[in-house]
Amino acid sequence: MTAIIADHIISPLGHGTAANMAAVQEGHSALRMYHDAPLEPYCASLLPEMPIMDGLTRFETLCVEAIRKASEHYAQLPADRQTVIILSTTKGNVEHLATGDDPLLTTSAQKIADRCGNRNTPIVVSNACISGVCALITAMRLLEAGMYKHAVVVGCDVLSPFIISGFQSFKALSDEPCRPFDKNRTGLNLGEAAACMLLTADEQLAMNAYGTIVSGAIHNDANHISGPSRTGEGSLRCLSDVLGEKDKLAFVNVHGTATAYNDEMESIALNRAGLEEVPVNGLKGFFGHTLGAAGLLETILSLHALEKGLILPTRGYSEQGTSYSVNISSAMRHTDKREFIKVLSGFGGCNAAIRVRLGVPTEVMPQQEEVTVKPMAEVRLTPKGIWLNGQQLPTTETGEALLTELYRTYIKDYPKYFKMDTLSRLGFVAAEILLQSIGEERFAAREDRAIVLGNRSASLKNDTDYQATILPDNYYPSPSLFVYTLPNIVTGEIAIRNKYYGESSFYVLEHEADLLPLAQLAMQQRNTRSVLAGWVECSTKDNWEAHLVLLTK
């Protein structure tokens, strides 16, 4: 249970949470058509030109500005030595690939932390479209465990031809303002925004809280790396985990991207969770899909709406378009209830939800039991060889050929391996050899194993490969490369292979040592009994390394 004490939203609808709330209440949207060849014409919600801070990029400026404005009344908090900065983003400065500048998320996160005067190592959550909610869950875990006292969580993505071309190659974009859950929905719109929330575990500061994150959950569909589960497996588990007392729920703020499959999946998950009568709303008709900012922006507005006793409307919705009925709020409604659920789903089969309550935290969190975590097995894989529990396994190849040699020796019958990028092949092969070594029953569906991976370069190698498919004079954006430009896809590949419906998380960090505490926090979750954790770094085709462990309680 974590107190929310401040926030700020920057979007094309306004600078500041109040301005954004007013625009939404008036029914405004910044979605409009853009013509920007070689991209196909697209409908999006883009931020206007703005001054860039000296030494920062547009993306970093937005993050710093959102943090500064959010902490206006808590000016000392971002630089406090007990504050952690958590950045939620899918692609950060990826547009730098076209100009040869540094595109790394760790570089951006460090610059943002430096600008805020924060000395702790920042954490980047890059878990596709669910990153924002995952970042809030990570913050809550760190604060509840007493590892930090405060968290600054900032989410942002800026749009560039890299991201827009990729979504176009997926034929996922609508060329009109999106219509979440509607019968005539034709796809999603992308949007730019930055959103920041300040969270605290400090009892004095928490007295100022206007909202409380009560609980959170992350689950994988174990189904497909880009298509959501047809039965809503991961989303259902997230909703069920955070549900609490259904009668107290004012609404569920859904992902609602307005693609055929996402909204259908969510309608099924809501029904299976017994939430078909609870009001449901989605905000992407106002802002588009703001990627790494979405979880924060949509949580902030949902919370402030609840403060006013309101359930915000679902702009673009008019007629039910899912095979399972849900109680969509198409117009503004009033409520006197005090809780809502925010749920998201994303590529890699990941899903996340939090339950948020109006007002200050009411219960004192029981001191968490100290969980003793022990590694059951360990594997290290480099271009030169593979070591299982310290013993080198016999191999003849090196480099990328080594990964395929290991696939042919240990896996053999999973042709999807050849479709994976190097990062996914690396994590997939290393995980497989680790899991084979412990002699447990394989491929029976299980909920109690989490996958928590991290690295320093995110999906840099594959980003570079995708960038080569969108050159102005050779423009054929590849969907099969684009999907792997999300580093968390490797967690999805492992979850699909093994039928793991537990948590799947991906962090981008400067050092491997920073990952272990995050894996241990995943282990402390109620339903988790083991964690497949580790470092899967891949910056070029010849420069990679995996170090995985299986942790148990």
Partner: protein, 83 residues
């Protein structure tokens, strides 16, 4: 058109390791069982048509018709290619 060349292009575009043109029958369904293709493979076939033959399919529905088999793809390419 040369169906063996088309099969070779499909194998390369979809990374169908261990499959040769002889393994793909002209009239067999490309999707469903058999080659184990999924929705991302279907999207990659849109790129193949554009890149190799200058054909831009309008939407996924059109793709479903065109990508039923190598025969239907070849027929469509012969009728619509611009390069």
């Amino acid at each position: 058109m040369d169906k063996t060349l088309l099969k070779q292009q499909i194998i390369e575009a979809l990374n169908l390791e261990d499959i040769t043109p002889a393994d793909i029958q002209d009239d067999a369904p490309l999707f469903g069982e058999g080659l184990g293709l999924d929705s991302i493979d279907a999207l990659e076939l849109f790129v193949l048509l554009d890149k190799q033959y200058g054909i831009k399919l309008q939407n996924k529905e059109e793709g479903k018709q065109v990508f039923r088999s190598v025969d239907t793809m070849a027929e469509y390419i012969d009728a619509h290619r611009t390069k």
